[in-house]
């Protein structure tokens, strides 16, 4: 039989029994929709977390910190040594000092951090306003980046912070004593950007600005950037061997992805219950259809329809119903998900929360669902179809 004719003959149910057909499709749709919504929630949660991590360079970086015993410390020499580990591309250290930060008339305790421009991308720190230090061109020696927490403390809106001036007084530990001396930096810094960090009151300036003024005994931490992901483990080992503590975003991401895959599976399982219920409903419909069509099947069998033709007709009908159910499910799920996203975001916008999408539907996932629903349709149809094909034409034609 030609495909066009199969399509025409197997869409008759929309004419002969439209309400039952659409209700079955709707049932499938609700089942599939449940799966789409729940898995979409999983994807959404995953995205919310992952959005916090800047991908790319961050995933290729190791975060190296001093051990608490301070048996080894990250000094200039060590940084150089780390840079010499095979396949390490770059090392970007961070120096940290306690300081009093003065913004307009207000002064607060905070930490002053000296970094190289590359540090931000290795550490995955992004600016919410303005720009981080650029790696090319003139050194922005009088630029400073403030954390959002600092801005909050000073009561400045993020939008208006850029361009304002800031001054510092730095606490310098006296050599060979526990005394701390307060040393002012006789320079005004201009805020060039704001860094996302709602917890610590900190300011970033270029590393040179600190090292040229003060003697730094050791760096607080360093980002070690390797050439490629495959060298992450080897580099980690070497750094650990030197006595430092290492954390890697890549590991965190990997872990998180694993967890989310698990969450998605669990959510999908919950959704599957709805899907199973609706599949049984559809199976039932196909079986009823079979009974209803028994006479027709008998007729077709006696006028040149082979058992195979009958099977093909039945299966294509159920595949079509399954697929349409899938489409409806996708529609239900996506509309629901986006609706919730929109609601949450408008609430968040009103109450000053962070904007985020609780639901996310990757195209690949939706394509998978569409084909999966067709497969479910096939499975619910294959059994009645086989029975239809094996009916004796005579019994079928006499069936009442």
């Amino acid at each position: 039989m030609k495909t066009r004719d199969i399509a025409r003959l197997s869409t008759r149910m929309f004419k002969t029994n439209p309400s039952r057909t659409w209700l079955t499709i709707l049932g499938m749709g609700v089942g599939i929709g449940a799966v789409v919504i729940l898995v979409g929630l999983g994807f959404g949660l995953q995205n919310i977390l992952m959005e916090q991590i800047v991908f790319g360079e961050t995933l290729l970086s190791l975060n190296v910190t001093n051990p608490s015993s301070k048996a080894v410390v990250l000094n200039e020499k060590m940084v150089e040594e780390l840079g010499n580990i095979p396949n390490v591309k770059d090392v970007s250290p961070l120096a940290q000092m306690s300081a009093l930060i003065t913004f307009e008339k207000l002064t607060s305790n905070g930490s002053l951090q000296g970094v190289m421009p590359s540090y931000f991308k290795y550490a995955g720190i992004s600016t919410v306003k303005g720009k981080a230090f650029s790696e090319e061109g003139e050194k922005e020696t009088s630029s400073i980046l403030l954390s959002t927490a600092a801005l909050k403390l000073f009561g400045v809106d993020v939008e208006q912070a850029v361009g304002k001036k800031v001054t510092f007084r730095v606490f310098v530990q006296q050599p060979d004593s526990t005394e701390v001396k307060e040393v002012p930096i006789e320079k005004e810094y201009t805020i060039s950007g704001v860094v996302e960090d709602p917890f610590s009151i900190s300011a970033f300036i270029l590393l040179d600005e600190i090292t040229s003024r003060f003697a730094i005994p050791y760096f607080e931490r360093a980002q070690v950037r390797v050439e490629d992901t495959q060298f992450l483990d080897a580099a980690t080992k070497e750094v650990v061997a030197k006595g430092f503590m290492v954390t890697a975003f890549s590991k965190t991401v990997e872990q998180a992805n694993k967890i989310f895959r698990g969450i998605q599976v669990v959510l999908a399982l919950f959704g599957s219950i709805a899907l199973i219920v609706s599949s049984i409903g559809m199976f039932n419909t196909m079986t009823v259809t079979l009974l209803e069509r028994t006479g027709e099947i008998g007729i077709m069998r006696t006028i040149g329809g082979s058992p195979n033709t009958i099977k093909v007709l039945f299966i294509s009908e159920s595949i079509l119903m399954g697929f349409l159910g899938g489409m409806m499910g996708i529609l239900i799920g996506v509309v629901f998900g986006f609706g919730v996203n929109f609601l949450l975001n408008s609430v968040a916008a009103r109450f000053g929360g962070v904007k985020m999408n609780l639901f996310d539907f990757p195209l690949v996932f939706l394509l998978f669902i569409a084909s999966f629903s067709a497969i479910v349709g096939f499975l619910t149809g294959v059994f009645p179809a086989r029975r239809a094909a094996s009916l004796s034409p005579l019994d079928a034609i006499r069936y009442k």
């Binding site: 030609k2 008759r12 007729i299 006028i303 040149g304 082979s306």
Partner: protein
């Protein structure tokens, strides 16, 4: 001599084999059907005629025996060959049409071609061609439910012929149709047999259709009882000299299809003993009398037809005999009018006038007494009037009437002799039969 196109060899079909409700639907069936024959499988319901038809269609495998079509055992076919066989070689129409209700007439007709993967254009052209031929092309886009039974059956015929099969099976195709549609469909089948040269196998229990066939297989209780060639048709299956002789029995079979040959022999000799006219004359006379009763024929023409020689389409009676017949007929028909009037008054809404009814009863009594050569007394007359009124009212039955006539006056009867009572009762019954519902 041509080979048979269909050959059933020692066919036995047993349902529920080995169970307590085992049922032998077909037993030792041997049937040979030749190309272009018109065959009727005839018998009462449950005789296995449809079972045999389905066996020939390839949807009911026999328990033992073979069905050969064009020399091939059709139950050896694989599903694909079977589908092909049911498209190219054999087609079927059913009593209930079996059209698919959700498909248009056009699609129903083209369905076999859809299965055979014809292109849309070609198959629709073919379908339209057939629908046009059978006069239902105007309905092509309608659903079968919108068509009359006769139209549906013609659509079914179109579907059966759409892939130009050699054999057309018909399972009681006119069982659900009114007489006009029946005639149309039966004529269509005849035309398909003669013009399209298709082999036709018709299953029916209606003896009216028997004249269409070349041969009739009479079936009873799952067996073919006898095979009767139609003497009015040029036979296709050659009859071996001396092996089969067409007798009056074949003719009688048409009049009395449900009787056994033994009973037919009795009928044949009874006709000789009791009647002056033979079965052929009777058949024609019945036709003429029917026209008289229906008022479609004048008495003069009837009289003339009775005397026209049989070879020229008449009955071939002598003038005296014809006169006698027409007198009797005239008497019965005229006198029965009074029964009709009486009944009409009884059945009408308003209460009948007693005087009028009494007058009618008196007239009917006069007709009855006219049949009695003797004299009757006043008492008999009164009793007779009462009885006739009761009988025509329907208060007593024919046999009670007869009994009362034969009962003595002393016992409250009319006091006729036994034979007279029977004769007069018969006569009155004839009048009543003609008079009711006229």
């Amino acid at each position: 001599m041509a080979e048979p196109i269909i050959k059933a060899e020692n066919l036995n079909t047993i349902f529920n084999l080995g169970k307590s409700n085992e049922y032998r639907a077909l037993q030792e069936i041997n049937v040979e059907i030749y190309p272009q024959e018109y065959i009727i499988l005839f018998g009462p319901s449950g005789c296995g005629k449809s079972t045999l038809l389905y066996s020939l269609l390839g949807i009911l495998p026999p328990t033992t025996g073979r069905v050969l079509v064009n020399g091939e055992d059709i139950y050896q076919y694989d599903p694909k060959q079977m589908a092909n066989f049911q498209t190219k070689t054999i087609g079927i129409i059913y009593q209930a049409f079996y059209l698919i209700p959700s498909l248009s007439v056009l699609d129903n007709v083209s369905l076999p071609l859809i299965f055979a993967e014809w292109s849309a254009g070609e198959r629709e052209q073919r379908a339209h061609q057939l629908l046009q031929r059978f006069g239902v092309d105007a309905q092509a886009d309608k659903l079968p439910a919108a068509l009359s039974g006769g139209q549906n059956q013609r659509v079914a015929v179109s579907r059966a012929l759409v892939s130009d099969p050699l054999i057309l099976l018909a399972d009681e195709p006119v069982g659900n149709l009114d007489s006009t549609s029946t005639k149309a469909v039966m004529d269509t089948l005849d035309e398909i047999n003669i013009k399209d040269k298709k082999t036709i196998i018709l299953v029916t229990h209606d003896a009216k259709h028997l004249p269409y066939a070349h041969r009739v297989y009479y079936m009873k209780d799952g067996r073919v009882e006898r095979e009767v060639p139609n003497p009015q048709k040029q036979q296709i299956k050659s009859v071996e000299r001396g092996k089969m002789i067409v007798t009056e029995l074949e003719k009688l079979t048409r009049f009395y299809p449900y009787n056994t040959p033994q009973e037919l022999k009795v009928k044949s000799v009874m006709n000789y003993i009791t009647q002056d006219v033979n079965f052929d004359q009777l058949e024609r006379m019945e036709h003429l009398v029917q026209q008289i009763i229906e008022g479609k024929m004048l008495e003069e023409d009837f009289f003339a037809a009775l005397m026209i020689p049989f070879e020229k389409g008449g009955i071939g009676l002598t003038r005296t005999y014809a006169k006698e017949i027409i007198t009797k007929l005239d008497k019965v028909l005229k006198q029965s009018l009074d029964v009709a009037r009486f009944r009409r008054n009884v059945e009408s809404e308003r209460k009948p006038e007693e005087q009028e009814q009494k007058k009618l009863v008196k007239r009917l009594r006069a007709y009855v007494v006219d049949e009695y050569p003797g004299q009757i007394n006043l008492m008999q007359l009164r009793r007779l009037d009462e009885l006739i009124e009761k009988r025509v009212m329907g208060d007593i039955r024919g046999d009670s009437f007869q009994k009362a006539l034969a009962t003595s006056l002393a016992k409250g009867g009319v006091g006729f002799g036994r034979r007279t009572a029977a004769h007069l009762t018969d006569f009155l019954e004839k009048l009543i039969v003609q008079g009711i519902n006229k």
